[in-house]
């Protein structure tokens, strides 16, 4: 009982700490809330529709590489980045792609729109949170439960 019964000094220190903590949390929350567009690492093709003046603006666009769209022609990689709402962006990239860039897999492209075509300067592969061995996938495919590519 002696511990549970808070004396005045302990109560004072508790309130002091609480005020510090609440003030700092509130300021961090406000910073995070007002900068939320800057903190976001990339935008999806759907978000681009509601943005103004995207021409010639340095952007990062993320999504999946559309199935059957990845081609190599005239020294350039050409592909489409698509999101869940089926909006897509045509991308041209002239350097080496990261190893993990595949169709139906995540990608982030960094660059500019020129005449509605996205000229990428940096391409990053974005892998998702699913991990499984090939044998598990084969098993799922046998059972007809595989929902991937």
């Amino acid at each position: 009982m002696r511990i549970i019964k808070l004396n005045k000094q302990i109560k004072k220190r508790f309130i002091f700490l609480l005020i510090i903590f609440v003030c700092f949390s509130a300021s961090i929350f406000l910073i995070g809330y007002s900068l939320k567009d800057q903190i976001a690492y990339f935008v999806e093709p759907t978000d681009l529709k509601s943005m103004d003046g995207i021409e010639n603006k340095y952007l990062r666009v993320g999504g999946l590489v559309k199935a059957n769209s990845l081609k190599f022609t005239d020294g350039n990689w050409i592909f489409e980045v698509i999101d869940q709402n089926k909006n897509s962006v045509n991308v041209v990239f002239s350097k080496t792609l990261p190893n993990l860039v595949e169709e139906n897999k995540g990608i982030i492209v960094e660059g500019k729109f020129i005449d509605n075509i996205f000229i990428a300067e940096i391409v990053l592969a974005k892998h998702d949170e699913n991990y499984m061995p090939q044998s598990a996938i084969d098993k799922l495919k046998e059972e007809g439960k595989w929902r991937g590519d």
Binding site: I10, S25, G32, K126, N130, P133
Partner: protein, 235 residues
């Protein structure tokens, strides 16, 4: 925490420390064995195996900070020297853990994403966590009297607690290059059981190593203070 003196806790922890290191060595050996014979990921290939260092150390660097913050609160409110000493001995371990997370994550990022470092929300908030650990250590050693140092450093630890949910939920709140959580997430883990078991074995191995390390640092701090006190008395 209220009645336990630093001395009691130090003696208790150091008496168990041989079991901690034994258990840790067994678990880490088992996990290395498991990692070697584990089948590669279908998409990332062998490079996903760095996860078994990256993820346990990431969890621990967050958990250590949580313990540090809570013991700083207890220390400040109840003036408990034991709680302050717990926080003091945890911060070097946390710093090393967060450096391991950043380095392994960087190697893994280069192998999979194609970049060592990007300024997305998860990576940046983790770097801030490492800097808070560093600041905590620097504060502890920038005062002549350890009571003053404990007071200043514990305020930093309590303010730093705000960063923990930001690190954990950054991947859900903002779009990031970093993947979302695979284990501690809504709807259960998104990896097969063999990967999950290996991850847990390796986590508990590194966890026991952390406890062993903590008991030794704690014991050394307490013994050093005892020696200084007896030196003062003799003079």
């Amino acid at each position: 925490m209220f009645a336990i003196t630093p001395n009691t806790l130090a003696n208790f922890m150091i008496s168990l420390s041989r079991y901690f290191i034994l258990l840790s060595l067994v678990l880490i050996s088992v996990s290395i064995f498991l990692i070697i014979f584990l089948e590669n990921d279908y998409y990332q290939g062998i490079s996903f195996k760095i996860m078994f260092i990256h993820v346990p150390t990431a969890w621990l660097s967050l958990a250590i900070f949580l313990v540090m913050g809570i013991s700083s609160i207890i220390g400040l409110i109840f003036k408990s020297p034991t709680a302050f000493t717990v926080a003091r001995s945890l911060s070097p371990i946390g710093l090393i853990m967060s450096i391991i997370v950043l380095v392994t994550g960087s190697i893994w990022g280069n192998l999979t994403w194609g970049a060592y470092w990007v300024w997305d929300a998860r990576l940046t908030s983790m770097l801030i966590l490492a800097f808070i650990y560093l600041g905590h250590i620097l504060l502890l050693y920038s005062f002549e009297h350890f009571q003053k140092a404990d007071f200043a450093a514990s305020i930093l630890a309590i303010i730093g607690l705000i960063n923990l949910p930001i690190v954990k939920f950054s991947v859900d709140w903002w779009t990031t290059l970093h993947q979302e959580s695979s284990v501690l997430r809504m709807g259960g883990p998104s990896m097969t059981n063999d990967y999950l078991i290996t991850l847990l074995v390796s986590f508990f191995g590194i966890f026991m190593l952390t406890i062993f390390w903590f008991s030794n640092i704690f014991y050394i701090i307490v013994e050093k203070r005892k020696m200084e006190r007896s030196k003062l008395l003799n003079d």
